[in-house]
Amino acid sequence: MKRTKGHPFEKWANWIVLLLVAVILFALVKLAYYTPVAAKKAPVSLALHYIPYYAWRSIIRMFLAYVLSIVFSLIYGYAAARSKVAEKIMLPILDVLQSVPILSFLPVIVLSLTAFIPVGVAVEIASVLLIFTSQAWNLTFSWYQSMTTIPKELREASKIFTLNSWLQFKKLELPFGFVSLIWNSIMSWAGGWFFLIAAEIFTVGQKQFQLVGLGSYLQEAASQGNLVALFTGVGVLIVIIILLDQFIWRPLLAWAQKFNLEMVSSNDNEATSWFYPVLRQSSFILKFEKNILTPVVGVLDKFFNKMASGKKVQPIVEEDTKLNLKTYIVIGSVFLLFLLFGAQRMVAYLSHISLHNYLRILESAGATLLRVFVSLAISLLWTIPVGVLIGSNKRAATVLQPLVQIAASVPATALFPILVFYLLSIPFGLNIAAIVLMVLGTQWYLLFNVIAGVVTIPQDLRYTASLMRLKKWNYWKTLILPALFPFIITGAITASGGAWNASVIAEYVSFHGKNYSTVGLGSLIAESTGNGDYAMLLASTLTMIIIVTLINRFGWRKLYAIAKEKYKME
């Protein structure tokens, strides 16, 4: 998911982008003063028969956010892949966006629009936007990556046969990126469920907003200590996730098989779905396809085709003319001026924070960093042996694989209220709960990557190792661990990003009407949001962005480069 490309331009482009993001955040923080006076808090009833309705509301919200994510990803990824200049700015932005939960600011803008739209609708839109921020980025990356890895000959073929842009999209780009889009959609939905609670109960300034939905139901149940409601809610959530998997994603994956680029047909790793054949043979579906789907798609197809065919086909290699260069320089300088102005204002704003508070930020950052590392270590400790077992032992795989898949699909945040309920009374309880939540949220990335890594170890290397009668530890040291290294790194990059994201939720909890917190950057962000201390909010969020970016740049990227270079099985 993460890219590594060492273009010299990227080195400073990244820092400019970082500054840009900071300035935008600053602007948003200023906007936050305009949030509506009246907080909107929809009452949530814990009666069990309300659950289906609440679940429905949540699903609709998730779906809208997902549609938004797809549209955004297609456009953003397409633009980044098409223009070299745009790429340099757009990709680093995406990198920052997906590493840090900064867009928890986003609802602020929407809520400041309440002068024009009713508060209820504005809150609803804000919630959808929040879910969007947990769904969009990986989709965008995946689409961008597909766009840039389309084989050159296929691109050339579509040019020489003068396919217009719509035909290119329909026949080349979409099919090529489709499988990856589906896989990432599954991940996006998981991400969305993870942040559902945070998206249905959120704070802007000192005002808390609450919407009816499964997420707020869970939070309310935990808050009131109603265990029956809590467990039922979690159960319903799991059922929804399994149903979506079986009836939507699996069939889609099975259908998408035909977009596999490989020229050799293979039976390995084929996505299987029991529901897909049923769907294919159902006369209702066939009728639907024939009478509704096909005509509608046909009309759309004609429309887009007409729109696209007006344009002349251009050669692939376009050279920048002098005029373009001038335009770039003008736009670039205006942009830089704006940036410097914003930066100056921001620094002035941040200078109001006392030294004491800055020390607090540093201390909190250290605490969260420690938690992230501890949770990564714990995850590694159990996922490597279990992953190797599943990956190399067929019998273990048949038993464990489905269990793991179901377990992984449960959003850790849904379990968090339960955790808090039990752990809050013991010493360091919230601290432990926070780490557990981070582990719950991150371990699966590692586990799946380890399994994927084990599968790639060639059988003849295993044979050789056993012929040489390598002792247990030697066997792991010379074969298993080096072979897994690149996969562990890939998993850990995603996992640590997830852990940072989770810290905002994990370190600061409202429970039984009281607020509990432990030292950490996440809790600092949540707390300053709650207190309406915008300067502090901005400072701590920026700190998190900088730390995560630095770790990515100087830690993970380096390790990833080593992994790719030395330990690749080829």
Binding site: P151, A157, F161, T162, M263, S265, Q314, P315, K566
Partner: protein
């Protein structure tokens, strides 16, 4: 002349393609001129890196040249040439579309109504012998059949100019042979609508079998070395003397004539009058030895060696060039002659070969340069990046990379240097510390 009677279809006029980066200026194509008349079957022949595929892309409008222009039927080409089409080396079929859909797609782009698309696609598939496979996906077909789809798709748009980009080189020998026959038959009998064919290839025999005119290209920079008009009737017999003469002529044009020692060996980076560094071909020393062994005992004709040993023209030319640079052999009129040193090298055993090779290779300026850099360094070792960086001032990145790799490999064989891939360090072997 009869050529003058045929209408001119395409004219490439003084085309150059230059890639500029901060460090160097790399000329991929230099002052190319080329004319295509109606009825022509022209082959662009040359080693890889000579820019023949780039030229094809410029001619079809996929790429814009840095200088010069393409005149198509009297008009300057801007954008894609809609009267031209390409059959690709790797087929470039859409894997998720059936054979028929692949052919129809080309027609859909030209806004043909659905029923006409289907009819024409089926007709073309029948003509190339793929009737019955309409609903198959490309992955179900063999390489030869896939390329037939490629041909059917190209012909579907009824192009005036059919461009073939090494269309047979990804196929096995038999499929390639039969497909060549099919193409020739369709072309000779006028069953395909195109007015001219332009084929890019690095296979000399293929060019002589099919084309009426062969444009031989050379690399560094890519340029036209020779144009040969073939006066052979179809079907052509590769064993016939006339055929063999053309083969020889082309080999001669490609392999050149061994020049003075100083020119063959080339210069070193940073030397006065730089830019005359020879690119050492990327071949292993063991292969050179085997090649020379064969040449000294069996045949002197480069073309015959290639044919008998079963290596392609490109590899043969590379091996010949390496032998010339090392002074193991000289080339004249397509014939290779082993020098006394070369003879000694061939007759030696493994360890002696290393010694002889070391003696010869240290005389190459580029090797002298690398060794003196190593000797000057404090710890008698250098990071690979230093060599690479110096070479990147003269060559594009990938070529500098390959050249560095060859330097290291040859140096290792000669036991002059050692190399550790973990820290990418080149070490001077202890016995070579003093010159």
């Amino acid at each position: 002349m009869e050529i003058a009677e045929k209408p001119k279809i395409l004219e490439v006029s003084d085309i150059s393609q230059v890639y500029l980066t901060r460090q160097y200026r790399y000329t991929a194509l230099k002052h190319i001129n080329l004319t295509l008349n109606e009825g022509d079957f022209v082959a662009l022949l040359g080693p890889s890196g000579c820019g023949k595929s780039t030229l094809l892309r410029i001619i079809t409008g996929l790429q814009r040249p840095t200088m010069g222009q393409v005149i198509y039927k009297g008009e300057q080409l801007k954008g894609i040439n809609e009267n031209a089409t390409i059959v690709f080396q790797t087929f470039a079929l859409f894997p998720w579309l059936t054979v028929q859909e692949n052919v129809e797609l080309a027609l859909e782009a030209r806004s043909l109504p659905k029923n006409m698309r289907t009819q024409r696609a089926l007709d073309l598939l029948d003509r190339v012998g793929l009737g019955g496979f309409e609903s198959a996906y490309p992955r179900e077909l063999s390489g030869g059949m896939r390329q037939k789809v490629g041909f059917a798709r190209a012909m579907a748009v009824e192009p005036e100019l059919l461009c073939l980009d090494e269309p047979f080189s990804a196929l096995d020998v038999l499929s390639a042979e039969s497909l060549r026959g099919d193409l020739l038959e369709l072309w000779m009998e006028g069953k395909i609508p195109c007015k001219a064919i332009l084929m890019v290839t690095h296979n000399i025999e293929e060019a002589v079998t099919l084309a009426d005119r062969i444009v031989v290209m050379e690399k560094d920079p890519g340029r036209v070395a020779k144009e040969i008009k073939l006066d052979l009737k179809h079907p052509r017999d590769p064993k016939s003397p006339a055929f063999q003469r053309y083969m020889d002529e082309i080999y001669e044009a490609l392999a050149g004539k061994t020049k003075a020692r100083i020119v063959e060996a080339g210069g070193a980076p940073g030397e006065a009058g730089g830019g005359n560094i020879r690119i050492i071909p990327h071949v292993s020393v063991n292969t050179i030895a085997t090649f020379l062994e064969y040449a000294s005992t069996h045949a002197a004709d480069i073309y015959k060696i290639a044919d008998e040993v079963g290596i392609d023209a490109e590899e043969t030319i590379n091996l010949t060039e390496a032998s010339e640079i090392l002074g193991f052999a000289t080339v004249d009129k397509g014939d290779i002659t082993i020098t006394p040193v070369g003879k000694e090298f061939v007759d030696a055993d493994i360890l002696e070969r290393k010694e002889i090779f070391a003696k010869v290779v240290v005389e190459l300026p580029i090797f002298k340069w690398m060794l003196s850099l190593l000797r000057k360094s404090a710890k008698k070792r250098l990071h690979k990046e230093i060599i690479l960086g110096a070479l990147e001032l003269e060559f594009p990145e990938h070529q500098a990379n390959i050249l560095t790799q060859t330097l290291i490999n040859w140096g290792r064989y000669a036991e002059l240097v050692a190399y550790d891939d973990n820290n990418e360090m080149i070490y001077l072997e202890s016995h070579t510390v003093t010159p």
